[in-house]
Amino acid sequence: MARFAPCSGLRLSLYNARMPTVDAVMAAERAASFTKRSIKTHTKRAALELALSMLDLTTLEGKDSPEKARSLCRKAVRPFPSDEQVLGKRLPSCGAVCVYPSLVETCVRELGDAATRNVKIASVATGFPSGQYPLEVRLDDVRRAVAAGADEIDMVISRGTFLAGGYDVVAEEIRATKRACQRGDGSYAHLKVILETGELETLDNVRKASDIAIRAMHDVIASGMGGTGVAAVHGHNVDFIKTSTGKVQPAATMPVTLVMLEAIRDWYLETGCVVGMKPAGGIRSAKQAVHYLVMVHETMGPLKVPGFETSNGNPWLTPDYFRFGASTLCNDILRQLVRLKTGKYVAGYDFSEA
């Protein structure tokens, strides 16, 4: 076949082909509809307890001290020490603590080793929160956090590269990060990919970044299974997509979370794989948390995933696949639980800080 023009070397990104788009007006309307649900009495109590168990109790400050990390761990294990007296039942522990890599070892000492602790240790890494470092530095950050004992790694994507259209680069960085999550025994730390949706600006971008992240993480696990069967040995591997670092406004919003849930749902419909979801930043009140759970219920509930009968076929209504990244949310949940039980609002200082 004759060629009429010299090959320009132009590479068309595969990710540009038939990516789903999002209508922002309708997405916002749908997200708002969840806030109009009226959740009362026993449903509210169950939702609040579930939200508590899904908390990634977070401290990500430059001034964080080992003592702060230790008190965070204690709060996560037993959020409300007088729960049995006041509420008549033991409340669940939080899902995880989320700290900078330098504090992972402190948390490991406080919470015990990986086999026994029921609160996971999540560490932000990859040059959090900006990610503006050479890839090798970011990957080293991950390896050190994993070696220190982190169960979960919260990475940030290169938003600049993404916005410049370097989708394949972003995907390859996520794959490299996932590979860096591999431990000496071949198992992987769980990975949460932070899209920093506040910097992506459009819901179209949120959807595109979600799809890229989900597929990139999948690539590593799938090839790992093909090669050595590591995943089979390890048992399971849960990866998440996450909205925000909490350092950029707006952080998690309901439309953004809805779009990411839709990406997760479509991936499940396509492959049968379940990816987790973590909205983070900006969720401060118990009421907001309940609205998010309503959204998870109504968006993912009809899928009826086999193997999750205990949560009515909805993996995302368990702390294994849905987390809230928040710090002030915890005490507001406790406050609402006390009010549901006693009919009275107690003061904020009745609950311990972290």
Binding site: V25, S223, P306, G307
Partner: protein, 538 residues
């Protein structure tokens, strides 16, 4: 991710559609992976890895919302008379002189209303005629004040009106509270603004009131339809005789109380209750200058015949079988929301309901699957529960009509999807939302208005075919188009024979936006500047 790269061991969700085996992996538009490793692994079943032991959920029995009943109590009289000339007639008793209006969600009688006789209608028309000279001589700013007062009073009594509307019509409180009643107030506010600016609506011409208006409204949006009829008429200086539908007269009668509260001059608005015979008496009364009717095409044709050859002006807003077109380049998740809003809003008892879904062939499977999932999450039940999405069908008669079409659709060869499994209350008139697939344009369910939560799903391949199919109907009330491409929207909107074309949304109403139909969907417009035209002579 558990069991990555492999299919789950059993069907991954309970598909009620036998024709749709649960093969989510074949969804066409989301397979843009492009990575050989994962593509390959997705196809080769691997040795099963155990999913993690699921954490005990607080929702072991499912996330069942606790009842959230609307608690406002509404007082309803045992019997109502007509509201004529600023006063109430004695409520009729007796078998033929009155009838019960019931709550369709529990079949209990709410009140008895009077059957309007020829005499009642005559009294109402005479009262409207008598009130006309003073009402149209009133300074326009004063007419505007009355409309403002009505709007404010409706806002103040909004919750009570919403509850009463839901009790009488069966629509969910969520809709009467957030859609119907706010729009009712908005219509009066909007037309209050027009009252003293009419000469600007018709440049270079002098509008004068059309006279006595006979207005007959349906049961699907009882108070909203009353507002659509009354507000422009009053703004233009006309007087009215309004007949609410026989199954839903209570909010119109409550509106009469509001008219009393705001001291609207006697006779300007008269409300006569009754069935079709009362409507016929209004249409045929020689003292009526204009007839405005919203309802079925059958009745509309009779009214058109009855008013032909008289001096009566007529506007008709009739049935529809509106097309909802989904292109492959649409935002599909949001399009599915639009489909849901389009057909299941108000139990599908909406004249402009998007009851014919036309989906581009390349995304038909994906849209159908997503629609099925979304259908399952709709909550059908007590209209007064704040979490109810779909309420009760308005009457036993309407439910029978819907059921007739459901049977007919299956007999003609379409496949019925009933993915919704809400628990229905023991009494009342209920129809779970559902849709038909495999529908041909020749099927009855694709041609006749069902007026219920029943959608007919069809496909098309090219843009021309979509337009051809959309316009292939005796009706022409509304249409919806979903695409991310602006130029396509503008092109198609021009070619669709429909009074309203919604783009990337559906069932959105605003008093400033005219509403009305083509062909057998009627003529004349309501709302906006265009809506004023039906109530003035130039």
């Amino acid at each position: 991710m558990w069991a990555c790269g492999q299919r789950p061991p059993v069907a991954r969700y309970d598909s009620p559609m036998s024709s749709h085996p649960a093969t989510g992996s074949s969804l066409k538009s989301i397979s843009s992976n492009g990575h050989a490793a994962s593509n390959g692994s997705a196809e080769k079943p691997r040795e099963a890895t155990r999913p993690p032991a699921p954490a005990a959920s607080a929702f072991a029995g499912g996330f069942e919302y606790a009842p959230a009943p609307e608690t406002v109590k509404v007082e309803i009289k045992e019997r109502y008379g007509h509201y004529i000339s600023g006063g109430w007639t004695t409520a009729s008793t007796g078998k033929d002189a009155s009838f019960a209006t019931i709550n369709p969600a529990n079949e209990k009688t709410l009140a008895h209303v009077s059957q309007g006789t020829d005499k009642d209608v005559d009294a109402a028309v005479k009262a409207a005629r008598a009130a006309l000279p003073r009402w149209q001589a009133l300074p326009a700013t004063e007419r505007a004040k009355f409309l403002f007062r009505i709007a404010r009073r409706i806002q103040e009594r909004a919750r009570e009106l919403a509850v009463l509307e839901s009790m009488d019509s069966g629509k969910p409180i969520k809709e009467s509270r957030d859609v119907d009643i706010p729009l009712v107030a908005a219509h009066f506010f909007y037309h209050a603004g027009w009252a003293d600016k009419l000469q600007f609506a018709f440049h270079g011409r002098t509008p004068s009131p059309i006279g006595v208006c006979g207005q007959i409204i349906p049961w699907n949006f009882p108070l909203l339809m009353a507002a659509w009829k009354l507000a422009p008429a009053l703004a233009c200086g006309s007087t009215c005789v309004l007949k609410p539908a026989e199954t839903t007269p209570l909010t119109a009668l409550r509106l009469a109380e509001i008219l009393e509260e705001v001291d609207l001059p006697p006779g300007v608005v008269n409300i006569v209750t009754g069935d079709g015979r009362t409507g016929a008496a209004i249409v045929n009364h020689p003292g009526v200058d204009k007839v405005a009717f919203t309802g079925s095409t059958d009745v509309g044709k009779k009214i058109a015949a009855a008013t032909a050859g008289t001096k009566k002006k007529l506007t008709l807003e009739l049935g529809g079988k509106s097309a909802h077109i989904i292109f492959e380049d649409a935002s599909l998740d949001q399009a599915v929301e639009g489909i849901i809003q389009g057909i299941y809003f108000n139990q599908g008892e909406v004249c402009c309901a998007g009851s014919r879904l036309l989906v581009q062939e390349s995304v038909l499977e994906e849209v159908t699957k997503k629609l099925e999932l979304r259908l399952a999450s709709l909550r059908v039940g007590d209209p007064l529960d704040k979490n109810t999405d779909v309420g009760a069908v308005n009457s036993a008669q309407q439910l029978a009509t819907i059921n007739k079409y459901l049977k007919l659709g299956e007999e003609e060869g379409a496949t019925l999807c009933r993915a919704n499994s809400s628990t229905l209350p023991g009494s009342g008139y209920w129809c779970r939302p559902c849709f038909f697939t495999g529908v041909q344009p020749s099927h009855t369910i694709a041609r006749e208005e069902i007026f219920g939560p029943v959608l007919s799903v069809m496909s098309f391949r090219t843009v021309d075919e979509a337009i051809l199919r959309a316009n292939n109907t005796p009706y022409g009330l509304a249409a919806g188009v979903w695409t991310d491409k602006g130029s396509k929207v503008l092109d198609i909107a021009k070619k669709l024979q429909a009074g309203v074309v919604w783009c990337n949304t559906y069932n959105k109403f605003d008093p400033a936006s005219p509403f009305g139909g083509y062909k057998e969907s009627g003529f004349g417009r309501e709302g906006g500047v265009h809506g004023l035209r039906g109530y003035v002579t130039l």
